[in-house]
């Protein structure tokens, strides 16, 4: 049960392999990776800068996890989120969940990602050849939220 924020780029398989080995008695391992797209509306993205309010992000993600754990029975979870400069095709976020059966992991992982998008205090700025632009939160990101949690 771990939440990691790091500047350093990571290889997802390193985390997933260890997580799977640590949870050898689980019947299901779910993983999700969010990556930097090399293009945004036909503009080449050179890099993105991710700003983080670390203390609040920890508090908010833990709150989300506590809510989800009351609803979905899981064995373990891991969240890795990068901050600082991230290049196209690199990983931004990794979520790994272990449970006895697949549905708990799927639902927990999806719910965690949905809530993270609207509550965790990260901000992305895309850097292009001709300038930079802060990324706005998408209305669609709020549509998926199950506010009944």
């Amino acid at each position: 049960m771990q939440i990691l924020f790091q500047r350093k780029k990571f290889i997802e398989s390193d985390f997933i392999k260890k997580f799977s080995s640590d949870n050898k008695n689980s019947g299901a391992i779910f993983s999700f990776i969010g990556k930097v797209r090399p293009k945004n509306q036909n503009n080449n993205v050179l890099s993105i800068d991710i700003e983080l309010y670390e203390k609040m992000a920890q508090v908010q993600i833990k709150k989300i996890i506590n809510k989800l754990m009351k609803k979905h029975l899981i064995d373990d979870y891991l969240v890795v989120h990068r901050y600082g400069r991230v290049k196209p095709r690199e990983n931004i976020v990794l979520i790994v969940v272990a449970s006895q059966h697949r549905k708990e992991s799927f639902r927990f992982g999806e719910g965690l990602m949905d809530w993270l998008k609207v509550k965790a205090t990260f901000w992305k700025k895309e850097n292009f050849a001709n300038g930079s632009e802060w990324v706005n939160q998408k209305e669609a990101d709020r549509e998926f939220i199950d506010f009944s949690l």
């Binding site: 700003e51 993270l116 205090t121 901000w123 992305k124």
Partner: protein
């Protein structure tokens, strides 16, 4: 009270944090912002659309009517965009 600014707001104001004194009385977040807006055109512009910003006190989301004191940490920022 410590105030933290993030992302575009930090860029507009030109600093990531500052400390202000609001005295012994509690004040609403909206009152704190109104006082900041009076400082100069930069603050006035940065807080032009207060409804499009988000507010947190001691790491919990709050609205503009929430009361704060000098011992609180107020964070102000645009909607988050991580993940």
């Amino acid at each position: 009270m410590k105030i933290l600014y993030f992302a575009k707001l930090k860029q507009l104001i030109g600093k990531s944090e500052e400390t202000i004194c609001i005295g012994q009385k509690k004040k609403k977040v909206s009152q704190v912002i109104n006082e900041l807006k009076k400082r100069n055109d930069i603050y006035n512009f940065a807080f032009k659309e207060t409804n499009s910003l988000q507010y947190a006190v001691n790491c919990e989301y709050v609205d503009l009517d929430f009361f704060v004191t000098d011992s609180d940490e107020l964070a102000i920022f645009p909607p988050v965009s991580g993940g």
